[in-house]
């Protein structure tokens, strides 16, 4: 690399990571101050693990992220397979566009419209309160679904159409062909979709804010609500932990991607060797 491009890269990395580094450093600060680092301490981490309400919010956030991303992945994969098999080109285009709308729609519009719908339906059935865990789950599945479809559909298009046909030719039932041949082919897309849905749900604030019900607040909402007084450094501690968990997840997913890519390559080479 030229020196200029080195400096440029360093600058970009600095701007990307400086905020996180500052947060990380001050989470170990002894005092509450953001301007003076008075000494290393794990005090705020201890405080964090004693704060039952915040831990409850963390649990809510994880529960929501895991369940909504799993549901969205199953539904999204099924939808992608369905869209892929459509013969009518115009219908396929139309469906593609429709599934993209929630992704492009501003969060605030999605949030408000979902809230209004939940309240409307709730009133229709005479419920005293209309928002709860399940409405939030529906909201999260709704906004992460298009991202899963977007990840899975290209993998289906890349796949050789002859593969499932060959499998069925050799005696597989269509279901077996799908499970044994198609799924492994598109698995990297499914996993990426799952991880995306998970992280999207984890950091969503706007939509959660409008659809949160009694007794079920997620972490971003709880942190936002602390602004009447100042946010305490135990939140820096929590953010540091979350950062490292996400980093670990990312590493695992990237490594496993490489592994599958590697195994596919190895299989191809084996084939070549056999032919020869």
């Amino acid at each position: 690399m030229k020196p200029v491009s080195k400096v440029y890269t360093a600058l970009v990395l600095l701007f990307l990571f400086a905020p996180i580094i500052i947060l990380l450093v001050f989470s170990f600060n002894e005092s509450k101050s953001l301007s003076v680092f008075s000494g290393f301490s794990l005090y705020w981490y201890r405080e964090l693990f004693r704060d039952t309400e915040t831990l409850k919010a963390v649990r809510n956030t994880l529960l929501l992220a895991v369940s909504s991303s799993l549901i969205a992945t199953v539904m999204g994969t099924a939808a992608a397979v369905g869209i892929h098999r459509l013969r009518n080109r115009y219908l396929r285009l139309a469906l593609d566009t429709v599934t993209d709308i929630p992704m492009i729609n501003p969060d605030i519009i999605t949030g408000i419209s979902l809230m209004l719908m939940f309240v409307f339906v709730g009133r229709l059935f005479g419920a005293a309160t209309s928002l709860n865990f399940f409405t939030m789950l529906i909201a999260h599945v709704t906004f992460s679904l298009p991202y899963v479809i977007l990840q899975v559909l290209p993998k289906l298009q890349q796949m050789d159409k002859a593969l499932p046909e060959a499998a069925m030719d050799l005696g597989c039932t269509p279901l077996r062909a799908f499970l044994k041949v198609e799924i492994p082919e598109i698995l990297p897309g499914i996993v990426t979709g799952l991880i995306m849905a998970f992280t999207l749900s984890l950091d969503d604030f706007v939509i959660s804010y409008f659809t949160a019900g009694n007794g079920f607040q997620t972490l971003p909402i709880r942190i936002y609500n602390m602004t009447k007084k100042t946010v305490t450094p135990k939140m820096y501690a929590l953010a540091t932990i979350i950062f490292f968990v996400i980093l670990a997840l990312l590493l695992i997913s990237n490594l496993s991607d490489e592994e599958t890519a590697g195994s596919v390559k190895a299989a191809k080479e084996k084939k070549k060797a056999k032919k020869a």
């Binding site: 301007s35 529960l63 809230m115 009694n214 609500n225 100042t230």
Partner: protein, 369 residues
């Protein structure tokens, strides 16, 4: 890949177990909606109000109770959530002007004070305030007064006094002003001796002119940023609530010496506990409010929040006064001849829409200039 899927599935199962673990037994539920960081929650070895209430209730009434404790960031957020009917809470703690609005819109339930005997400890001067003149809907929780904070290492003590310090050209580039139209205009109005709840355009124009003369001296218009800027010595003069001054004092760097005083005319707020119309169990809500007024929780909350308490059990308590120290007590509870008269004269009230629009228009004008 399989491993990851298996792990995720295991995680879901675990979560499901955790979730059902707390919802299965038959218990009473109380939904409380409060500002974030506005209750003593057990952190830093403080009193865990919600858990203690649950324990106390079970011991006293022999029934299990679970408190769903949620938080909001502003009065408006809380109002929006409640008014759509999307959620329902049993106890809320809004600020004065919001109580007036909710009472006018028939969103609050008149309290049954037979269930709140501890109301007797609320000081006389906190009754009959403008937002609830007949003491029907609310029980005061905290109150606060806006004052001026300055760094004594930069500011000459002789210059401190009234609102003039925020307009003193000696400290140009060191002054902070509110980044919020209502608060910023109020500083000018108090300085000029004008009514902050006026509907007269000339009043607001005069305030704007005053703010424009101040603008060249202002370092920046801030809200929460004031904490760090004052603590680090980046700025030397700013106005904020007395309770928040102590937070800054705790965190000030060694080169800074923060001081505080009250101008003659200034803003007051009261946050009070109310029961919204959608409440599912009014008696339970009243028992909770009564508990919040009893000695131990009231003192713990006042110490945690650092705002002044209208509860005589708190500010007459020797233990509390000792914990806070003499200086803090003097600032937090300034001698006031008649709180309710001052409050009713100077505190913000709801402005009508036309005045609000005009205010925002003037605010834009100030920000552009």
């Amino acid at each position: 890949m399989k491993k990851i899927t298996a792990l995720l599935l295991a995680a879901v199962l675990l979560c499901a177990v955790l979730l059902t673990g707390c919802g299965s037994s038959k218990t009473l539920t109380l939904n409380v909606y409060n500002w974030g960081e506005y209750i003593s929650d057990g952190s830093e070895d403080s009193f865990d109000t919600i858990r203690e209430f649950e324990k106390w209730y079970e011991e006293t009434y022999g029934e299990k109770i679970h408190v769903n404790y949620d938080t909001y960031a502003s009065n408006e957020d809380m109002y929006n959530k409640l008014s759509t009917g999307a959620v329902s809470y049993d106890v809320i703690i809004p600020s004065d002007y919001m109580i007036a609005r909710m009472a006018a819109e028939d969103m609050l339930v008149p309290l049954n004070f037979d269930n709140i005997p501890n109301y007797q400890y609320i000081d006389e001067s906190f009754r009959g305030l403008y937002y609830d003149p007949d003491n029907l809907y609310s029980v005061p929780y905290t109150y606060g007064v806006v004052g001026v904070i300055y760094n004594a290492k930069v500011v000459d003590e002789a210059d401190a006094g009234d609102w003039d310090l925020l307009w003193n050209s000696k400290y140009a580039g060191n002054i902070l002003q509110f980044n919020n139209s209502r608060d910023a205009f109020a500083t000018a109005q108090y300085k000029l001796g004008l009514d902050v709840n006026s509907t007269d355009a000339a009043n607001w124009d005069a305030a704007l002119a005053e703010l424009k003369t101040q603008a060249p001296l202002v370092k920046s218009y801030v809200m929460d940023e004031i904490y760090n800027m004052m603590e680090s010595g980046e700025a030397a003069v700013g106005a904020y609530y007395a309770g928040d001054y102590f937070t800054m004092l705790d965190n000030q760097s060694d080169s800074v010496d923060l001081q505080f005083y009250y101008p003659e005319r200034t803003n007051y707020f009261v946050d009070a506990m109310c029961i919204p119309k959608a409440c599912q169990n009014q008696k339970l809500a009243e028992i909770f409010i009564n508990y919040m007024l009893s000695e131990e929780p009231a003192i713990a909350n006042a110490e945690y929040i650092y705002y002044a308490s209208p509860n005589t059990l708190v500010y007459e308590s020797e233990e509390y006064a000792e914990d806070l120290g003499e200086e803090t007590m003097e600032i937090l509870y300034p001698e006031m001849e008649d709180f309710s008269a001052l409050y009713n004269e100077y505190a913000y009230r709801n402005l009508d829409q036309a005045t609000l629009d005009y205010l925002n228009q003037l605010w834009e004008e100030l920000k552009i200039s």
